[in-house]
């Protein structure tokens, strides 16, 4: 399911990009440098899942590490929002807790393999060959 991981990272990047619109509008309305800075930081952070998706597709080892820490921070923030502030509605729960949790699981458990939309359609020997190739490129120690 590396294709699922790839697409979920893209969806996460797009939804994170939307977050930047709030402080951007605030910056324009109030001419506030602080809000503009916040918008820039938010926009930059929205690019992280894109970089992770691209890096993983290209077989770069740093992408998994970057993705791990990014999703972990998002997950902790989402859990804090859920527990402390009771922001537990369905969409919020899925996007701020479920999505980072799922992506963390995929990043930790999924071996690098070729990006496919339906890897289950591949013969088993093709998948195994893909796995070995991916690991060779991204994990010199393996």
């Amino acid at each position: 399911v590396s294709a699922l991981r790839h697409v979920l990272l893209l969806v996460q990047a797009a939804t994170a990009g939307l977050v930047a619109l709030g402080p951007l509008l605030l910056a324009l309305a109030e001419r506030s440098p602080a809000a503009l800075l916040l918008a820039l930081v938010t926009g930059a952070l929205a690019c992280v899942p894109l970089a992770v998706a691209g890096g993983l597709a290209a077989g770069r080892g740093w992408a998994r590490t970057l993705g791990f820490w990014y999703e972990l921070i998002l997950l902790l923030s989402g859990v804090a929002n859920l527990v402390v502030l009771s922001n537990g509605d369905l969409v919020s729960l899925l996007c701020t807790v479920g999505l980072p949790l799922g992506l963390l699981w995929m990043l930790l458990h999924e071996p690098h393999k070729e990006l496919t939309a339906d890897s289950q359609e591949l013969p088993r020997w093709r998948l195994e060959a893909g796995d070995r190739g991916g690991r060779r490129r991204t994990d010199p120690g393996g």
């Binding site: 605030l26 537990g88 919020s92």
Partner: protein, 363 residues
Amino acid sequence: MAPSSAGLLAGIPLQHLGGLAVAAVFLVAGWLLRVRDPVGLLLLATAGVHLGLAPGHASEPVLAALFVANAGAYLAVLGLRNVGWRRWRLAAGALLTATILAYLVVLAARREAPDPVGTLDKLIELTALGLVMLPRAGSRRRLRRVAASGATVVLTAVTGSALWLGGAVGAGHAHGVADCTPNHHGGFGAVLRPAPCAVTPEQQAAAQRLVEETRAGIAPYQDVRLALAAGYRPTAPFGPAVHYTNQRVADHGSPLDPRHPAALVYANTRHGAVLLGAMYQMPKVGQPGPDIGGAITPWHYHTNVCISLPGLFISGLSTPFGACPPGSVRITSADQLHVWTAPNPNGPFGDLDDAWARRLASS
């Protein structure tokens, strides 16, 4: 019936709960039938959502029929895929795109207000579309891979923006208390407190009295400098109107004191700030406001305000997906009630007419 205001099902109209229930049944059935791949499960989920939404829209037979047809089409594509049809990706992609576009058209036409079930369903469809757009297993078509990835990001951003905008402008078909509150609607983050539809003559008189008392009470603040001197400070500058809040009054004052409302609302015109009205606010979050005029004066609260922890300022509004900027938290406001003393076309208790307020601001 009004949607729940808290918990997992917050904001979901009763008529839409069927969509979630049927989707869950379809997912379990699919799993038992050995549908284990992401695309298959996502298509099953969205088919279930659409089928489950049909009974809740029985009053609109065309829309209900479209929901059923859409669910049938998804199931047909899944079935054809399972018997080895090679073009299933193309069919699924076309169907998903058409469904997403149709929803955006419905939002644009204000036929439906976005709700959590619609938002979740669009996320499911966008993820499924992203998956079917990617090249087949083992393909070396790098350009298609990049194009599919770019399209997924753009489509998600456009759909998310439309959901946000749709929630902001509201809709005529809101499945909730807005159905009987004149010129009021909820939407993303703005939740109307339920109120009985029937309004008694006493409630009408009480509502009219509140308008008159508010007009007299805030008259001294026609000059914004006096409001500033009294401790009101500009906050929440979204839209053509600016709220000036007196935090001391909001926290400790009497919630319905016409001479000292929690906030004053001004339009910034070329000739200075023009007083539009007042906003009353309950001192505690979760405390329902007192009933004054029934459905004429429904209290509302916001669930989408983002507060930056460093500096404690409003850093934006959370997205339809519940996210705030980094370092910010999403809070729920106390119950609020606006009383417009300026001639708002939606009436003294209705939503502020944005177009009218903009015309006023540019006058």
